[in-house]
Symmetry: C2
Subunit: 450 residues, 2 copies
């Protein structure tokens, strides 16, 4: 093992392919269904929203999908991303565990989201698309897509969840610096938005409906999704592939824990699926854990059912852990984790017992994040703080039992645009809002009958 | 030459020494003088403020000063910093020039300031110092020192220039996340601060007076300065040394322009002095340019005179280009460039004709910064934007003349905590406030008679 702080890779070690876990799974994941007919969705159904390359990736049975050279060229600006050994944190916790974190905050958008925004913009650009629409929660996805659109000369229109729009003007400005346009969601521009009052806090489900509605109406426009779908998870697998190479370089032959935060599931899958491949093939045997907030506990308290990806029911029905497509989570600061569902692929491997899940309160997450910042010099995104807090639990258990475990954490992004949340935490003004049983029952009552 | 976007170095290529330009200069720089006696300052005069190692570095005649291993260990977390070839920007400008930028925004504080905060905290920690005081303008230096103090278990107290404190709460929060304490300057805690009204916008000069006053009163406390002094410039020379190695790696055997922004002068010197060494020794012949704002045009319109480093006259008298120690520049957004003086070493080499200077309006700088962000994926700090705007001028001139020049720009930090300034720029609400002749004459009238 290494005592280097930072394990870097050369450009030559940048992955050449994305990894598709589907053909490696013991059982195939359930197909998405057409919202009206309840028949399996075909490529034609998705054509109004996505270019053909992404549709083919969505249903691909190939284990590896080649990364186009123009995409690799942009990746090279910030990838391979560093894997850090958390020497400062280990010392602070007094744990015999070795903690590594894979840091995606080095990207232009400050998070993993660029890994998929760049190929999505690229594929759309091949078909003369001039405008991409999307939703954003915390704002990381909107930023990433605006950046990618600027690179490929497309305009970018972002519906931002109301509560984030209201409390984080910096995010809007950053999207505008990259040339994008931002609308508060629910907006007055769409039928889906007008169904809600002006001052509604919004949700990812509503914002998705708005962006989808607009894209479907404009021939030159397509829609881009920042998580949930198979092709998005696919693009993120550069994270886990690089991490495996870096751990080998650090001399680690075993991994005991892989921990990532999960909102829609793409950051988690990007890190975890290459490790799950190693586990399925018997080369590694880590416990793989998805961490979510107690206020939006999709995996830990949701139902595994067919549900819509958006609030208006415009998307296909996907079999996933869900709290109901019209669930509006409390406005916690990890905006990227406020999604009612979970990526069908992540839901499937969880249902099959191949991964674990945990739900944490946001105060515990911010406590871990501040501790981390002071010893490691990086302020984590509130989403990433969930993974760090879970890693802290595991590292302290290892201290208790005196075992030399290896922990790999996904640090999906930095929190420099979320300092308002840190300010509240430091002032003791941050609430914990676990979802109540009554609200959960109410949310689940609205699931579609499929 | 390379067409790689990112030229990285291994940890093994991290500089082992800082470079001291003093013994290489054709003429020695004028000595600092005691504020009361006007005699040259000796080590004893500085002992209440700084530990002995920093005092010896301040007056060192050694060409190279070894970087202590604990400092190199922290540097390894983020250094060697990347040198980027600005392929996107070159294409956008249509210039035959090759533009490289050395990016210091990868550090924990998001700027070059950690290069000196870490050694300053380290040396103080060797002497049982438990508290460091300092000033900060935009907040980058306060952040860097708070981070370094957290690493070496010291408390950190920061006087932040009032106008920055009022308009940038995120910076304060970031300093607090790293465990530091922030006071608005002018504060009520010091005699120097109480000389000004509560709602005074403040200046770096006033904030320095406050931090120095407090440190001088407390035996367990010392003061740390983020720029101006020789030892601070010395620590920053890792930037230029790495850049030279990286340019060689990129296959560049000649450099035509080296451009850095200059407030106190440490970022500029850190990049430029290793290049100036090459120039003095006849191996390279770049034009080296310090860029400052028209609202605080120290080199371009100040006088080369002995003046105080702070507003209350507590520091030694230093021979430097100055606008007068009680000059309060207009509240432009490049807070780090709002300093009345210029590092004595930078002033000296400018006076000797070894470097050039240029002053730019902030709107031109933000225009260059937005253009840069859209093609390069990095939002520059408003300070760094000054260097980018000057580089843009040079690159467009090269386009005009059809010459294949090599331009090296210092990108001292990211602007993710300065998005309020970008918001104003995008809304067309950013003023240009060049210093008027009357205000300049008034400021210069208050220079001490030495």
């Amino acid at each position: 093992m290494t005592d280097q702080r930072k394990i870097t890779l050369d450009e030559s070690e940048l992955p050449t392919h994305w990894y598709n876990i589907v053909p490696d799974l013991p059982t195939p994941p359930p197909a998405p269904l057409h919202p009206a007919t309840h028949e399996p969705v075909g490529p034609d159904d998705l054509a109004p929203l996505f270019p053909i390359e992404l549709i083919m990736q969505e249903v691909s049975q190939e284990q590896y999908v080649e990364i186009p050279e123009p995409v690799r060229d942009v990746y090279r600006g910030y990838r391979p991303s560093p894997l850090y050994r958390a020497l400062g944190l280990e010392k602070r916790l007094g744990t015999p565990a070795r903690i590594y974190y894979k840091y995606e905050g080095v990207s232009p958008a400050g998070s993993h989201k660029t890994n998929t925004s760049v190929p999505q913009a690229y594929y759309n650009s091949l078909h003369g698309i001039t405008r991409l629409t999307t939703e954003t929660g915390a704002g990381q996805w909107g930023t990433a897509l605006a950046y990618a659109c600027a690179l490929f000369d497309m305009s970018c229109e972002v519906w931002q969840v109301g509560v984030s729009f209201d409390t984080k003007p910096q995010r809007r400005t950053l999207i505008e610096v990259f040339g994008g346009t931002v609308h508060r969601s629910p907006s007055r521009m769409t039928q889906s938005g007008r169904a809600f009052p002006d001052d509604h806090p919004g949700s990812l489900g509503i914002a998705i409906s708005e962006a989808v509605e607009l894209a479907a109406q404009d021939e030159g426009a397509k829609y881009a999704l920042g998580s949930v779908l198979n092709h998005v998870l696919l693009h993120q697998t550069v994270i886990g592939q690089e991490a495996l190479t870096q751990l080998a370089k650090a001399g680690e032959s075993a991994v005991d824990h892989v921990i990532g935060c999960a909102g829609g599931g793409s950051n988690f899958a990007g890190l975890a699926f290459p490790f799950l491949r190693e586990k399925l093939q018997g080369r590694l045997s880590p416990t793989i854990t998805a961490v979510e907030p107690t206020s939006c506990p999709t995996l830990t308290r949701g139902e595994y059912r067919y549900d819509f990806g958006d609030s208006a029911g415009l998307t296909p029905l996907m079999k996933m852990y869900t709290l109901g497509h019209d669930f509006v989570p409390s406005p916690i600061h990890a905006g990227g984790l406020r999604y009612h569902g979970m990526a069908p692929l992540v839901s499937h491997v969880f249902h099959e017992g191949l991964i674990e899940a945990a739900a944490l309160h946001q105060n515990e997450c911010f406590e871990a994040a501040v501790e981390f910042a002071r010893v490691e010099g990086i302020v984590p995104a509130p989403e990433s703080a969930h993974a760090l807090a879970q890693a802290r639990r595991v590292a302290l258990a290892a201290k208790e039992s005196g075992t030399e475990e290896v922990i790999v954490v996904g640090l999906s992004g930095h929190g420099l645009l979320e300092l308002g949340a840190y300010e509240k935490y430091l002032a003791g003004q941050l609430g914990d809002d676990p979802l109540s049983d009554a609200d959960l029952a109410d949310a689940l009552a609205h699931l579609p009958a499929v």
